[in-house]
């Protein structure tokens, strides 16, 4: 063994302190999803929940879309924390895909249905965009802090999946209070907001999560 490697091992031994093992990815994901629930609970105080539920109940595919975004958020969070642990497979990145397909599929169905009956509504739904980005910000901060406690060896991939989790969670929270009316412009703004949040986190991930 090279002398310098020998010295390094001695120095690392000198610097050894007991460490607390990091929690399992499942627990971390649940903890992070708890942050989303807290935000949802906060918004429930402000918004008229009954009117929102009535609008959601009017179309089954709207519920499917919400279920899809919820599954995407939960599985993407679980996948991000798995990816942040050395020794876990990168295939975890594929876990959110079924939820994502359900989310996109159900939203698309709703869009087509409304398109056929109402047509283009012509409105610019920038408030959806701002809401999703705004709700994502604290979730992204919490996610990055928790991921940095782990040790992401694939920072860009981890950040991409984490960004999807943040965007999906905020879209789920938003859809409970302001259900998309499934007009094409509304859904386009939802998709744009999700893409922005995911892209921003993915782009900054290498710097934020590099260890």
């Amino acid at each position: 063994m090279a002398r310098s490697t020998d010295n390094l091992i001695r120095e690392l031994g000198d610097g050894l302190t007991p460490v607390r093992r990091i929690a399992e990815p499942n627990r971390l994901a649940l903890l992070w999803l708890g942050c989303s629930v807290l935000i949802a609970a906060g918004l429930a105080v402000v918004f008229d929940m009954r009117a929102a539920m009535a609008r959601l109940g009017s179309a089954a595919d709207m519920w499917l879309a919400v279920l899809g975004s919820l599954l995407t958020a939960a599985f993407a969070a679980k996948a991000a924390f798995e990816l942040a642990m050395p020794g876990r497979s990168r295939l975890w990145a594929l876990l959110p895909l079924p939820g994502l397909l359900l989310w996109i599929g159900a939203s698309g169905m709703g869009c087509l249905r409304t398109w056929a009956t109402v047509g283009w509504d012509g409105h610019i739904h920038s408030e959806c965009l701002m809401s999703i980005v705004g709700i994502s910000a604290p979730l992204a901060v919490a996610m990055v802090v928790m991921l940095r406690r782990a040790f992401p060896l694939y920072p860009a991939l981890t950040a991409l999946v984490a960004g999807l989790a943040c965007a999906a969670a905020s879209a789920t929270v938003l859809s409970l209070f302001h259900p998309a009316d499934a007009a094409a412009t509304d859904l386009a703004f939802h998709a744009l907001a999700v893409a922005i949040v995911t892209a921003v986190l993915a782009a900054s991930g290498r710097r934020l999560l590099r260890r």
Partner: protein, 206 residues
């Protein structure tokens, strides 16, 4: 040092059949146990673990195509990462899988860094014409008083790192030989020294 079961050739493992799988599992469990003890602060277990990791990391670096003269760097960077990431190891899981991912990533990082450095390096002829050390005069001789004093006032480890790596133009390996410090420690000390010098000099000037 503990017996290097990890360094067994793959052929030997195959020839031994099922018993080799048992041996590998036993090794994995033993290493996992050592890491669990290290997580609790057991210095002797940690020392034994890191020494047992070295042949495994060497093999991973070579498999990834790290040149022979850079394998020690890959080993040391992996050991530093193992130290910083030790809280993420779960004793219920394979230790070797955990270590393999870290060793592979550090080998890839090292190769990328070498690739980037090569692309930035100028042609040797130009380097000889422009590099101050080409005259045979150490860079240290050209230091002005303020910088010299700032370097001299650094803590011992940081001063050595600056003098050997920057002023005397030694490679990491040479500086390590001269000072008896690891290349990892030299890198950390140089980084800290540059940060201190930057703060002091800009403070003085500003």
């Amino acid at each position: 040092m503990h017996a290097g079961v990890l360094s067994l050739a793959p052929g030997a493992l195959r020839a031994a059949g099922t018993s080799s799988v048992d041996t590998r599992d036993q090794t994995d469990r033993r290493l996992g146990g050592l890491m669990a003890s290290a997580q609790a602060g057991d210095r002797a277990a940690y020392d034994a673990l890191l020494r047992d990791c070295v042949p495994f990391i060497r093999a991973a670096a070579r498999r990834r195509g790290v040149p022979a003269d850079a394998v020690d760097d890959a080993v040391q960077e992996t050991l530093l990462t193992v130290h910083r990431a030790r809280h993420t190891y779960d004793p219920a899981r394979s230790f070797q899988a955990w270590l393999r991912t870290i060793a592979d990533r550090r080998a890839v990082d090292l190769l990328r860094r070498q690739g980037r450095q090569r692309s930035r390096e100028v042609h040797d002829d130009i380097a000889y014409e422009t590099h101050p050390a080409a005259t045979g005069e150490p860079v240290a001789a050209g230091l002005d008083g303020g910088l010299r004093r700032a370097v001299e006032s650094l803590p011992e480890g940081q001063r050595q790192a600056v003098e050997e790596l920057t002023l005397n133009d030694r490679s990491l390996a040479e500086a390590s030989q001269v000072t008896g410090r690891s290349t990892g420690a030299l890198k950390v000390n140089l980084h800290r020294a540059l940060k201190t010098l930057r703060a002091r000099l800009t403070g003085e000037e500003g």
